[in-house]
């Protein structure tokens, strides 16, 4: 499926094979939720998924890091997705992300419900924040000590976005496929202008 018409880039996820444990000690795993990229194409505030991935990868690359991307089908629980990614990550660091944009930085030794940095308010995440998240993930993976991405807060996000978030959450849950194991994917970003 391609991105919406107002997007300048589209994302397709080319399946490479089963998701396996990585060996490179500095790698970051980006773990995507069942509906990320397909069937959904943008976050709750219309940031295209192509841009989300491109900025995460750019943040990792800018810090000299390397990334692998996996897609998870058996759960739509963000903590579980990210923790699963962290277990597969050579460095133990993973970025977990839901289709609606909610993101978490996880580490394999942490309890599932804990995290390194959590970005629970998807409506406040834009391209710039995703770049910083990628950059921090790479720095954690290299054993450096980045400044946490400044968290934003908006008390009025509740009346505006709470119900849409619930709706997207339900849709994401519908995409869960218990029979399908996680796969490693190559994000292919194409410009359409």
């Amino acid at each position: 499926m391609t991105a919406a018409v107002d997007s300048v880039r589209t994302l397709s996820l080319r399946e490479i094979g089963p998701a396996e444990r990585g060996t490179r000690p500095e790698e970051v795993v980006i773990a995507l939720s069942p509906a990320f990229g397909d069937p959904f194409t943008k976050t709750i505030v219309d940031v295209p998924h192509a841009e989300v991935i491109r900025q995460l990868l750019a943040g990792i690359e800018e810090q000299g890091g390397v990334a692998r991307t996996i897609k998870v089908y058996r759960t739509a629980d963000l903590a579980a997705i990210a923790h699963y990614g962290a277990k597969l990550s050579g460095s133990g660091i993973a970025v977990g992300i839901l289709a609606r944009g909610t993101t978490v930085l996880h580490q394999r030794d942490l309890a599932r419900l804990s995290n390194l940095e959590l970005f629970p308010q998807a409506p406040l995440l834009d391209a710039e924040v995703f770049r910083m998240i990628g950059s921090n993930a790479a720095q954690y993976a290299q054993g450096r000590s980045p400044r946490p991405v400044p968290t934003r807060n908006d008390q009025m996000a509740r009346p505006r976005w709470q119900a849409k978030a619930a709706l997207l959450h339900l849709k994401e849950f519908e995409c869960i496929d218990h029979a399908r194991a996680a796969v490693e994917v190559e994000p292919v970003i194409t410009r359409v202008d």
């Binding site: 750019a58 800018e62 390194l116 940095e117 000590s145």
Partner: protein, 616 residues
């Protein structure tokens, strides 16, 4: 057997804490003192003022409660003759770097791209294409890294000689990774729109872990820009300012300049021994301390009116006026400690938020007065507790008596009490004479130095660095302490400390908000303590030592809260060792540690166990 037993409480009102020692004293001969309990509570108000009453009463009550006699009324409360000591702190930046006409960008972005040096004419990205000579591309805000790379690649393919680039965003690595030709790229230049276009510019990026070699050298600049000897002399400040950077941009403009100047921040007039000397604060700590030595003993200090230094000294005087009711003209500043420091400061005229470590001087000043209002405190305590209250000896003198109960000590004995605002020393010599001194500068100054040198701008964080040892969290299950030992944990550490330099506090690990290494933080902390506590200990002891010679001191006992610090006692002991001085932490009556020396000393003096000293 039939001797009357009296309940006596010694109370020591200190700058920050009030301590009490509760004892039963038997008989007139007073050959038996039974110490029952001690207590510690924050001092209320400025030491030596009636506001101390509340804290003193609390301390007495606490001691009574601790002894299991909450409703007992003591027979006698003994108060120390607390001299008010007020201290003030100021910090003045005395150098600054100014860039005019955007000639230089010398900041250190985390991740510049490429390597080497590129020289060419500055051209905006939108204008790129068709240029003849070598060009340096200037990219403004909002440009996407893919677009930038594509555009540069196209220009290079069309034959434009692109030699380097300067970017607004944090995209250098991303752009370089996408270029067909490898060029040096400097990024995170926040005011990139002020880079002059159409001028000759040079961009240099060093390999990771290295620093630039060409633009940070006067002759390197001369070769790059083809300068004659006069011009080379003019650009030498540019080279100096860029030294130590991993990346830099220099643009040659007709009037561009970088200057490094001293900021006049006022003069101090120090008075003593019948003469006065003026010293400029911008001359640095060494010059100030030298001036003070030359007029010793110091009788007063004034700061130039209308300067920060003048304001600070006036404020200290005003506080003392409020406290004692003495007119400000009668209040003299009795000591000053000046310390050189470096403060990270944003360069004026810079284009990328460049930061230079500028010189600064930190000053601690201290006022004391002979006019104590302890009688008022004594009267109020007597009214509230319904008992007799006596004012005892001067604290330095009594403290020596208390310190002398530390097992293994003997006369002559000196004490050092390092507090928050001042460092106090006293000596008891073989003839039973006591001399005491207060000098300016203690814990608060250390906190301030740590705060500014680490660029924390967070007093709480600085305080934590000062008080606690450091560690680096290396994984969720282990930390490496600053002494190199590794500690493992069974349960994972909290995520907010992961990969961070932390202080090890009784509350757990607390992250230090810096990006430097543990070693750098440790060096700053120890240097700050050395420049204040060690320097002051030596300075104060020299003032009480016979003939000013530390060798004649014999033994030194450290008292007060700072004596409980994890490293200060060792640092002080190391500094005193070359003078043949035995230095150790007080252990009053063998049980109280460095606390309670004055309170216990008051009781002992009162009971006649010790001869009152310094009494008329």
């Amino acid at each position: 057997m039939g001797e009357p037993v009296r309940v006596v409480v010694g109370v020591d009102v200190g700058n920050s804490t009030t301590e009490a020692c509760l004892a039963e004293v038997a008989g007139d001969r007073a050959d038996r003192v039974d110490r029952l309990a001690s207590s510690l509570t924050p001092t209320t108000g400025v030491k030596g003022t009636p506001a101390n009453t509340a804290g003193a009463v609390t301390a007495v009550r606490r001691a009574l409660e601790a002894a299991g006699r909450p409703s007992a009324v003591p027979d006698t409360v003994l108060l120390n003759e607390a001299t008010p000591v007020i201290s003030g702190l100021a910090m003045e930046t005395i150098s600054e770097t100014i860039i005019t006409e955007s000639t230089m960008i010398g900041h250190n972005p985390d991740t510049p791209g490429g390597e080497g040096i590129g020289v060419g004419t500055t051209v905006a990205l939108a204008e790129l294409g068709g240029q003849d000579g070598p060009v340096v591309v200037v990219v403004g805000a909002g440009a996407d890294f893919d677009d930038v790379a594509e555009r540069v690649n196209r220009a290079v393919a069309d034959g434009v000689d692109v030699t380097a680039a300067v970017l607004h965003g944090d995209d250098a690595v991303l752009v370089v990774n996408r270029l067909t030709r490898r060029i040096p790229v400097v990024d995170e230049v926040s005011a990139v729109d002020r880079v002059p276009l159409g001028m000759l510019a040079a961009v240099e990026v060093a390999a990771p872990g290295r620093t630039i070699r060409t633009l940070s050298d006067s002759y390197g600049l001369a070769s790059t820009f083809d300068l004659d000897s006069d011009q080379t002399r003019q650009v030498s400040p540019v080279a100096r300012a860029l030294a130590g950077n991993r990346s830099a941009v220099v643009v040659r403009t007709p009037a561009g300049d970088v200057t490094d100047r001293r900021i006049p921040v006022g003069t101090l007039t120090v008075t003593g021994s019948g003469r006065s000397l003026d010293v400029g604060v911008d001359e640095g700590a060494e010059a100030i301390m030298e001036a003070i030595r030359r007029v010793a003993p110091l009788t007063d200090v004034h700061g130039e009116a209308g300067t920060h230094v003048g304001g600070m000294l006036a404020a200290v005087r005003d506080t003392m006026t409020d406290v004692t009711g003495q007119p400000s003209s009668e209040i003299a500043i009795r000591d000053v400690l000046a310390v050189d420091t470096l403060v990270p400061t944003t360069v004026q005229g810079g284009l990328a938020g460049e930061v230079a470590r500028e010189n600064a001087v930190a000053l601690a000043a201290m006022v004391r007065t002979s006019r104590s209002r302890m009688q008022a405190v004594a009267d109020e305590i007597a009214a509230q507790l319904g008992c007799e209250v006596l004012i005892g000896g001067v604290e330095g003198e009594v403290a020596v008596r208390g310190a002398l109960t530390t097992p293994g000590t003997a006369v002559p004995i000196a004490i050092v009490d390092m507090g928050g605002g001042s460092t106090d020393a006293a000596l008891l010599d073989r003839d039973g004479r006591v001399s005491a001194v207060h000098v300016a500068g203690a814990g608060e100054l250390v906190t301030k130095l740590v705060d500014s040198e680490l660029g924390l701008e967070d007093r709480d964080a600085a305080e934590s660095v000062k008080r606690h040892p450091l560690a680096k969290v290396e994984s969720f299950f282990h930390v490496r302490h600053e002494d190199g030992t590794v500690q493992f944990f069974d349960a994972p550490l909290p995520p907010h400390v992961f990969a961070r330099v932390v202080t090890v506090t009784p509350e757990g690990l607390v992250p230090v908000p810096v990006r430097t290494t543990l070693e750098a933080v440790r060096t700053v902390r120890r240097e700050a303590k050395r420049r204040v506590f060690v320097v002051n200990t030596l300075r104060a002891l020299a003032q009480v030592a016979p003939q000013g010679s530390l060798r004649l001191l014999g033994s030194v006992v450290l008292l007060g809260g700072s004596a409980l610090d994890f490293e200060i006692p060792a640092m002080v002991a190391d500094a005193l060792a070359p003078h043949g001085v035995v230095c150790g932490i007080g252990n009053v009556h063998g049980t109280e540690g460095p606390r309670n020396a004055v309170a216990a000393g008051l009781v002992d003096v009162h009971a006649g166990l010790a001869e009152p000293v310094g009494a008329p």
